[in-house]
């Protein structure tokens, strides 16, 4: 089940879900989307089902339930972000299936690894209660499937209208920076930034690094420095870029949970005892207001 298409393209998080689906075997993959993709899709996509109109969890769950009844799928997968986490457990209850959420590794058709306790514990889980497995997939744990072709096998679903909840509109935070969840470089700021304007320092550094994404700790979001969709951590987004630069972030368990699988971690903090240094490959104990502009200039 795809996240909403972005300009006709299957979004990066869903390309990772498709890559996870391919690990389950060489069977064909059906993509359920909110529209007909105008951009290429991965080679394994054999058919596309389109649901019109449904933006609420109730309508998406009902749509998947209706196709799950018709086709005997072995697995239904979606992303473990807010889109997938919204409808998947509801769907699970409708199908009386116990889902496995936030899957980071696929061991077999019925064995999966998922994190618990803010990523401090991993559990190997065997789902045997039903022939149908329902999974939400952590997109950063899987590569993105390559987009190769168009798929003409498209079916529009005829779905009943759900009226007990009504989608009334959205407020998408304006951000022309790369997508936080899929960027190869992320520069994040915390309470140490002191205000929203100072995030401009991080944007300049990210630009100098070839267009990195900008993230934030909970403290920075709660203080209103940046919008909530930039939050990295147990309750925000999980990222795993090649390079994660944590600036003015102390490194609470809940923040580490969202970034400690990054390939290289840099911490810039004036407090030498900040827990962020325990996960950093390179730590710089310095005043961020001096170190960040200096780094931007020297790159």
């Amino acid at each position: 089940v795809s996240d909403p298409l972005v300009a006709g393209a299957v979004p990066p998080a869903t390309l990772s879900v498709i890559a996870a689906a391919q690990q389950l075997g060489d069977e064909s993959v059906t993509l359920l989307t909110d529209g007909v993709p105008s951009e290429p899709v991965p080679d394994c996509i054999s058919s596309i089902l389109v649901m019109g109109g449904g933006k609420t969890a109730e309508s998406v769950a009902a749509a998947v339930q209706s196709v799950a009844k018709e086709h005997s799928y072995s697995h239904i997968l979606t992303s473990a972000n807010k889109f997938g986490s919204n409808f998947a457990p509801r769907l699970a209850a409708l199908l009386d299936v116990s889902p496995v959420t936030d899957v980071i590794q696929i061991l077999s058709e019925e064995e999966f690894v998922r994190p618990m306790y803010a990523g401090n514990v991993l559990t190997k889980v065997q789902a045997t209660d039903s022939p149908l497995k329902l999974l939400t997939v952590r997109s950063t744990a899987f590569d993105k499937a390559a987009v190769t072709k168009s798929c003409d096998n498209v079916t529009e679903l005829d779905l009943p209208e759900w009226t007990a909840s009504i989608w009334k509109g959205e407020s998408v935070s304006k951000n022309d920076r790369p997508d936080l969840g899929s960027a190869s470089i992320v520069v994040s700021g915390g309470r140490g930034l002191k205000n929203g304007e100072n995030f401009g320092l991080l944007e300049k550094l990210a630009d100098k690094l070839g267009g990195g994404a900008v993230g934030a700790s909970r403290a920075a979001v709660d203080a209103g420095y940046v919008p909530n969709d930039l939050q990295v951590g147990q309750t925000g987004k999980v990222v795993a870029p090649d390079l994660y630069i944590a600036v003015g972030i102390s490194g609470a368990i809940q923040h580490l949970s969202g970034m400690k699988d990054s390939k290289t971690i840099v911490a810039i903090n004036k407090d030498a005892d900040a827990p962020i240094f325990t996960v950093a490959d390179y730590g710089l104990v310095a005043d961020l207001f001096e170190a960040v502009p200096e780094m931007t200039e020297k790159l």
């Binding site: 991993l122 998408v172 368990i253």
Partner: protein
């Protein structure tokens, strides 16, 4: 009018305190002598329920917890925060509630029994428990009941016979209208700032009623549907170094980690 005032049920879970870094010992997460607290997202749900009562939108706020006998402490906290009464579905002491034994589908089914018996109009739960990190109970309960749901609520406003809720999304926020209750809402971090229970309120909470039910008697299959085969700690990162200055940092990123050009 008074007839429109809703009956609210709030789910609260007893979990390892958010500041504790847990360890794996003898093949499972070691919970011996570890500080336990109310799940932070459940505190937010309790606060949301109590605020609806204070705004005279809710007539009654009932707290529900499922787990061992120590869950009564969690329920007393909810009562001290302003819930009117509590229901405890008690599980056997040996049954872990952090996904190892009791899992969200069974929890949602137990919850459903209480909702139906109590005639609740609105169920408030946290968006996830910080032990299992499953985030399933709320939407599952809504699915079982056939009720509308809103997850990751960032604001809840009464509107007409229902609610207008703003929820957090992957790219910002969106508004969902529930024209008419009942509904299930799961609470995100930014919904509110939960109050501390004051001493007088903690004393008052001792007089409030807690009803205990036995999980095993409720006609719900409590067996875990997903078998936990193994529990282990993730590989630890290799030890890092402290660099002396920005030049050294850039040099390391360029020539050692090779992550920048």
């Amino acid at each position: 009018g008074k007839e429109n005032r809703m009956k609210v049920l709030v789910g609260v879970k007893r979990v390892v305190d958010y500041a504790v870094r847990v360890r794996v010992n003898k093949g499972t997460v070691d919970l011996a002598n570890v500080k336990m607290s109310m799940n932070p997202f459940c505190e937010i749900a309790v606060e949301a329920g109590v605020r609806l009562k204070e705004a005279k939108v809710a007539s009654e706020v009932v707290a529900l917890s499922i787990g061992p006998k120590q869950c009564t402490e969690t329920l007393r906290t909810a009562l001290a925060m302003g819930c009117d009464r509590a229901i405890h579905i008690q599980t056997d002491a040996s049954m872990r509630t952090d996904y190892m034994d009791l899992q969200p589908l069974a929890v949602a089914k137990l919850f459903q029994k209480v909702v139906e018996e109590q005639g609740s109009d609105l169920v408030l739960v946290g968006k996830q428990a910080i032990d299992s990190d499953a985030g399933q109970t709320g939407p599952m309960l809504a699915g079982l009941l056939g009720w509308p749901q809103v997850t990751f609520a960032a604001s809840i406003e009464p509107e007409g016979e229902g609610l207008m809720i703003e929820r957090e999304t992957d790219s910002g926020t969106e508004k969902i209208e529930i024209p008419k209750l009942p509904a299930v809402v799961t609470c995100d971090l930014r919904l509110n700032e939960p109050r501390y229970a004051t001493l007088p309120n903690i004393m008052k909470a001792k007089k409030k009623k807690v009803v205990t039910l036995k999980a095993g008697d409720m006609g719900v299959d409590l067996e875990p549907r997903n078998k936990v085969l193994e529990v282990y700690e993730p590989p630890s990162r290799k030890e890092g170094i402290i660099v002396d200055n920005v030049d050294m940092l850039i040099d390391k990123l360029r020539n050692e980690a090779k992550v920048i050009a």
